[in-house]
Symmetry: C2
């Protein structure tokens, strides 16, 4: 798939863009749970994977752009380690696999960085051990590590990684196909009386069995209105809506990310059908709007308008649709963005800072709702994005807006109150921007009301 | 189960032991995978859980022993967070739940620590963010954080946590019961042609479905001779031995830890039976030796002698058994320890340093094999330990010893070479030391050859 030449070419491209500097790429180390040797599953840094492809802990890389030389640094294992861990490739072997002949140990890396302090450029660190490294190598305090990151490097890498190659799209589609299986498994498994954890466990199994892992913590909940919800302790029952947001990561590190919402009962109730259909209409309209050259902000606003129109038709909202969206009134039900970039990171390059990648250096809105949009730049061939508008009845948000008398020209709070315990609905798919339009990645997952109810029958047939 | 009074009593006990000082307990924070907001599942620090019972990120606690006052520190969530996360208890509410009335935010914690630098005592940090905190609060450099930890605090807490209460044993037994289900699931599921990852996925599902998680990274491998093996990419086939080392963690944080070895075929081969039976004999002999007052080192040496006797009978070893064990010759096949303490940590309090807890301050052996023994002190009522002797044919170790001509009085290298690709076998159970002897925790898992083969039939009946 990805060969030595893949990585050499990617580095050549970056070398041409950067023109000068000593670029430091910190690979990730093991991450301890409750003591040093009891670790979470290893997750390599995505940029390190992108340019060097080595999925092992304890390594760092340097590209000396001025000298045109790349290095891999790490400490070779001792024979003691090999007795416990079996044969392990040496640093030289790992480096050769990515087309690099210059290697060194971590002490040599430290010396190189200390001796070249003024030339070093690095990406914003998101792990505490990387901040300690920057302190020890460059004397940068942990509190200042992010702000001293190289914006030039962020932008150069951001513009390179944002366009997915054919090989990357094949890997992403593998992740999406496993993701579809995860969602299908949940739809065909969840029954009243189970816990959310049991459904989550089944979903997780599919990601593991495919030889990879999950790409982000699974949301598997009957409280879909709580957007950041990783609690799985509830027992699910007839009448509940189950919202699943889950994705697979392939062994090569690429992510999938989908959401589905299905009734815990065999069928949706009529109220659930009405809101579900509107969410799906917004979802489909947003996908149709994903064209090369279209700003993703407009894709988002399209979804917001469809939701506003529908919520007006149902009596939750009122007034002129364009004015309501302009004022951000839809954000009472749809307080987040329509989606995000996806690649090696499920929120691709989120650690770089949204303003540099998702916004290409342009300012973000400060309006509630729009400020949570992660991407607002013209779409181009090779972008992979998610589309995931949703409709949520968030009691805390309803109470807050109502108390403040917010946007009463557009919101019928009496009608909203009737639905305050309704929950939340979201569908999410992964979309590739093509030359002329877009393509939904992966095999199809049930999303029409009819198709979802067909899947649900299978859960009750066991 | 664990009530407010549980935590108050535990802290009272510690206060009496310590007599003075300002004890800092760093709670864990979220741990990022590939960017700040994409985190691994949250895992609280075990000592923080033990004394405060709050399973949430972003908190720290202080016990001012001199003043007799305990504090919980953390930043309350804003209404913005609550919109995304639903209702969340306040720091005051969390503190009240553990019987503490004094609270503060993180800025106030920082001020308190800076103002009381000389009185602060803390445990060895194992997470990098905790080291950064110590740098910022106390000016201790990350490289010196561990050596400046309080040995008095380590020993006081170690002696308290090492004795498990009735309530803790109930929780540990829950973890062990789920652990049994994980192993049973693998035995009844694995079939030739599957990947190791598929079996691992099924095992993991059981831990998740029980409402908890895994207590350590799962070993699920046809290369059981590689002791630290987290690779799951092999396809399993007829004739292979499958070694599973996996444990559940309950929602309250207590660990189970078991190992099982079974044939990928319906039955063991005759060579596999012979080695398996010897491993099991050593395992059972070690459990029988677990009596209050007996030093765990002697339990280990008992297992080593049984293995040596058996390996002599099969022709792998020769000479006097006691002399061979004294010389460490058994360690060619059994290079690790017989087991370890288990509780809130699967290797209980491993972050404190083995010399203080497992060795009660006494020196460790430096002999290969014995130096890997994690526990060597007289057993007492209330200890929970694992018993897991194994027999491994490790090609790299065989080559190393053979090349050095090591212990040729005790090893028949020609016979060993015949088995160099045999693999490895281990059984592991969790044992409570009682007033008069011991009790194997949890419901029974197949471990005799006959019982394991009965379980295996079920996998082929699907």
């Amino acid at each position: 798939m990805f060969t030595k030449e893949t990585y050499i070419k990617r580095r050549e491209h970056l070398r041409e863009t950067m023109q000068s500097g000593l670029l430091l790429f910190q690979g990730n180390d093991e991450s301890p749970m409750n003591y040093a040797d009891n670790t979470y599953h290893f997750h390599q840094d995505s940029t390190f994977l992108y340019y060097f492809g080595i999925n092992k802990p304890g390594l760092h890389a340097v590209m000396d752009i001025d000298a045109g030389v790349d290095y891999i640094f790490g400490d070779d294992l001792t024979i003691d380690h090999i007795v416990w861990m079996g044969h392990q490739p040496t640093i030289n072997e790992l480096a050769a696999g990515t087309g690099i002949t210059k290697t060194g140990n971590l002490q040599q890396l430290s010396v190189m960085l200390i001796n070249n302090k003024t030339r070093v450029q690095y990406l914003p660190p998101y792990r505490a051990d990387h901040k300690i490294n920057l302190l020890q190598w460059l004397g940068i305090s942990p509190g200042e590590a992010a702000q001293n990151a190289s914006i030039q490097m962020i932008r150069a890498i951001g513009e390179q990684r944002i366009i997915k190659s054919k090989e990357e799209i094949i890997e992403i589609e593998k992740a999406v196909n496993t993701t579809v299986e995860m969602h299908q498994a949940a739809m065909r498994f969840a029954r009243p009386g189970m816990t959310e954890a049991q459904v989550m466990a089944k979903v997780y199994e599919k990601a593991h069995a495919a030889g990879g892992n999950i790409s982000f913590p699974i949301i598997a909940t009957i409280n879909g209105q709580t957007l950041h919800n990783h609690y799985h302790g509830n027992t699910i029952k007839e009448g509940d809506l189950f919202l699943l947001d889950a994705g697979a990561e392939t062994a090569t590190g690429y992510a999938g990310d989908m959401s589905s919402t299905f009734p815990v009962s065999r069928t949706f109730s009529s109220a659930q059908k009405e809101i579900y259909q509107l969410t799906l209409d917004a979802h489909n309209a947003a996908i149709d709007a994903c064209l090369p050259g279209t700003n993703y902000r407009d894709v988002h606003l399209k979804a917001a308008r469809v939701i506003t129109d529908g919520m007006k038709a149902m009596g939750f909202m009122k007034g002129n649709t364009d004015d309501a969206v302009e004022a951000g009134a839809h954000a009472l039900f749809f307080p987040c963005g329509t989606g995000h970039l996806m690649g090696l990171d499920v929120h691709d390059m989120e650690n770089f800072g949204e303003q540099w990648v998702g916004y290409a250096g342009n300012p973000k809105s400060t309006q509630f709702g729009l400020k949570s949009l992660r991407l607002a730049r013209p779409l181009q061939k090779g972008y992979v994005i998610t589309i995931e508008p949703g409709i949520y009845f968030i009691p805390q948000l309803i109470d807050l807006w109502k108390k403040d008398g917010k946007l009463t020209d557009f919101i019928n709070y009496n009608k909203v109150e009737e639905y305050r315990d309704f929950g939340g609905i979201r569908n999410e798919e992964d979309v590739l921007i093509t030359e002329t339009g877009n393509r939904i990645l992966g095999k199809p997952l049930a999303k029409s009301i009819e198709d979802v109810e067909k899947e649900r029958i299978l859960a009750f047939e066991v």
